[in-house]
């Protein structure tokens, strides 16, 4: 196996919350991400799933350098991306780019599509007019837009088209990693399919590595090579997609999968069968809760271990 291009090690993010106390004294910390570790290989799509508020976006922002981690390291090709040796924004920009959830908020309403693509190129030293022209046209074609449409402003596009523009912008600097934060959850079902297809096509075409954040397990199953299930800032289960979907071990993962309103599941009428039989925990360990009780986010989580149950399939257990 080749060396991973992105390594996240023991990532912690805590947000100071000011409340209580006279003069707003007493500070509490919200533990958003607690000791996250994973890596990403070239050309791979790694999905991070989990419920709202479990720290998915925070992780994404940390990878993008938009959120300084409280602890831990993020390495790109073995070089640190965080801490004192972190590269500047410019260098980071060529390593990783991001596609955002809300296609309406992710484009500057006062810039034409062309401008949004041209500015980063110029910023990164592409000065030649013809070259800029060529690269933008090619990129627009790649995402299924015409170069003529580039002269328009974002409000003249539909949600799906905007998401395409967002993708074009993410790819214009030819990054190796693209972080997708819920790239399709704001889109209509029919348009969702187009974007998913497009993302898969582009991944193949440019050998991109994706970190995809989503709470929609059916999309995750469709797109990812490996899946990370997060609960309350922690990875509770991680593994190749088949392992996760066909052989979920953690009660929370099972709960998530059972909750997917998949037409087929309901039409087959064997709902919730999955949840019932839980394979026993390894000796000396016990299962964690299934996530139906919300944890206290102001305390660090209970000590637990991530155990490899074979084939890169990791599951978190509490010590018995």
């Amino acid at each position: 196996m080749t060396a991973p291009i992105l390594e996240v090690k023991d990532l912690h993010v805590r947000f100071p919350i000011t409340s209580g106390g006279l003069l707003g004294g007493g500070k509490r910390y919200l533990h958003a991400v607690n000791g996250l570790s994973f890596d990403l290989a070239r050309g791979e799509c790694l999905s991070v799933v989990g419920e709202s508020g479990c720290g998915k976006s925070t992780t994404a922002l940390a990878i993008m350098g938009l959120q300084e981690p409280t602890e831990g390291s993020i390495r790109f090709h073995g070089k640190p991306m965080t801490g004192p040796q972190a590269p500047g924004r410019m260098a980071r920009a060529r390593a990783a780019q991001m596609v955002f959830q809300d296609p309406y908020a992710s484009l500057n309403p006062r810039q034409t599509v062309w401008q949004s693509l041209e500015q980063p190129l110029r910023l990164h030293g592409v000065k030649d007019k013809a070259e800029i022209e060529r690269r933008i046209s090619a990129m627009l074609k790649n995402v299924g837009l015409t170069p003529e449409q580039g002269k328009r402003y974002p409000h003249e596009f539909s949600g799906g088209q905007r998401q395409r523009i967002g993708i074009a912008r993410a790819l214009i600097l030819e990054p190796e990693i693209v972080v997708l934060d819920e790239p399709v959850s704001a889109l209509d079902v029919s348009i969702r399919a187009q974007i998913i297809n497009l993302l898969l096509d582009l991944q193949e075409k440019f050998q991109l590595s994706y970190v995809m954040i989503s709470h929609d397990l059916s999309v995750v199953e469709h797109m990812s090579d490996r899946v990370v299930v997060m609960f309350f800032g922690q990875i509770v289960e991680q593994g190749p997609w088949q392992a996760i979907f066909e052989n979920p071990q953690h009660p929370y993962t099972r709960r998530l999968i059972a909750a997917i309103p998949d037409p087929d599941t309901f039409l087959k009428e064997d709902t919730e069968a999955l949840v019932k039989v839980l394979p026993p925990a390894p000796a000396g360990y016990r299962h964690m809760g299934d996530g139906s009780v919300p944890p206290n986010v102001f305390e660090p989580p209970e000590a637990s271990e991530l155990i490899d149950i074979g084939g890169g399939h990791l599951v978190r257990y509490l010590r018995a």
Binding site: V189, S190, F245
Partner: protein, 304 residues
């Protein structure tokens, strides 16, 4: 053979413009909901699902105007009914829950009081009695420690709990019809599953018919007996849920189903490409011409 609870006949809703012209929003929608039946309405954003539901409630706001057709509730046309009649129906016989449980509740009143209001309004109960009944209603939607929760303000509750409060409120007077407009879109998947289950069970228990609106086919499949697909103000296909999912007729429905990544459909080495409607049909405008309304199969087996 029972009569439909609600029968919408050729409903037209427009936004009138200056100079006599109008933008059509609903272009002649017809559908029927039987007593106790759960009817799903799917369709992309802006297709007119919410407008249809608001028309039933008589809550169409300013620019929107019902310009044709009928909405018959037990034979009475709601479009021409008096304000008083509508007030007595609303909440009492036809109740509604909305998409955003965060904003659909009055932030300044306890949820108990907001539920109690239903009993005060429609059953002539006093506020004190109403409060008691509200606690019961909360218990009915499986809110833990309902007495305490009744005294909570909406902001003190999670999204799922709030949506339960909405359901408790809607079902307070045992309505004949519950209109649920995307009741779970704002919720997490696991919470969504619980709320859907609740709606399903409570309505089955009480024999309440449901008009369930969603753009999520999975959700529709999990609660509805019959599904209507809307596209651009037109009901383009209607069928029993099973039939619709297994054998879609309309191009748009086909596209919709094909676009959905289905759990378990991916095999170890390949994934089937999702269907892109635009690749099936070049000119979307013809979609509104096509219509497939399957006949209802009643218990007797006879087509209606």
């Amino acid at each position: 053979m029972s009569a439909p609870l609600i029968e919408i006949k050729d409903l037209k809703v427009d936004v009138p413009l200056k100079g006599g012209k109008a933008v059509p929003i609903l272009k002649g929608v017809s559908l029927q909901i039987m007593p106790g039946e759960t009817f799903g309405l799917v369709g992309e954003s802006g297709s007119g699902k919410s407008v249809t539901s608001l028309a039933i409630m008589g809550l169409l706001k300013k620019p929107l105007k019902a310009t044709g057709g009928q909405i018959l509730y037990r034979g009475e046309d709601l479009l021409t009914a008096s304000k008083k009649t509508m007030r007595n129906l609303r909440g009492n016989r036809i109740a509604m829950i909305f998409q955003e449980p965060m904003t659909a509740l009055n932030p300044l009143q306890t949820v108990g009081r907001q539920i109690a209001e239903m009993f005060v309004l429609h059953q002539g109960k006093s506020w004190a009695e109403g409060q008691k009944l509200a606690v019961e209603a909360l218990a009915a939607v499986k809110v833990p420690s309902p007495e305490r929760r009744a005294g909570n303000y909406p902001h003190q509750m999670s999204g799922g709990l709030r949506q339960r409060v909405m359901i408790a409120m809607a079902l307070a007077c045992n309505p004949d019809l519950l209109i649920a407009d995307e009741p779970t879109t704002a919720l997490d998947v696991t919470v969504q599953a619980e709320v859907l289950k609740l709606i399903r069970e409570l309505c089955a228990e009480r024999g309440t018919a449901v008009l369930f609106i969603s753009h999520d086919l999975g959700v529709i499949a999990s609660v509805c007996q019959r599904v209507g697909v809307m596209y651009s103000g037109v009901l383009v296909e209607e069928n029993d849920t099973r039939a619709l999912f297994s054998n879609p007729q309309h191009t748009y429905t086909k596209g919709l189903l094909g676009a959905l990544p289905r759990l378990g459909s991916r095999t170890a080495d390949s994934r089937n490409r999702l269907v892109d409607i635009d690749s099936i049909i070049a000119d979307r405008s013809v979609l509104t011409q096509e219509r497939y309304i399957a006949p209802r199969i009643t218990e007797g087996g006879a087509a209606q």
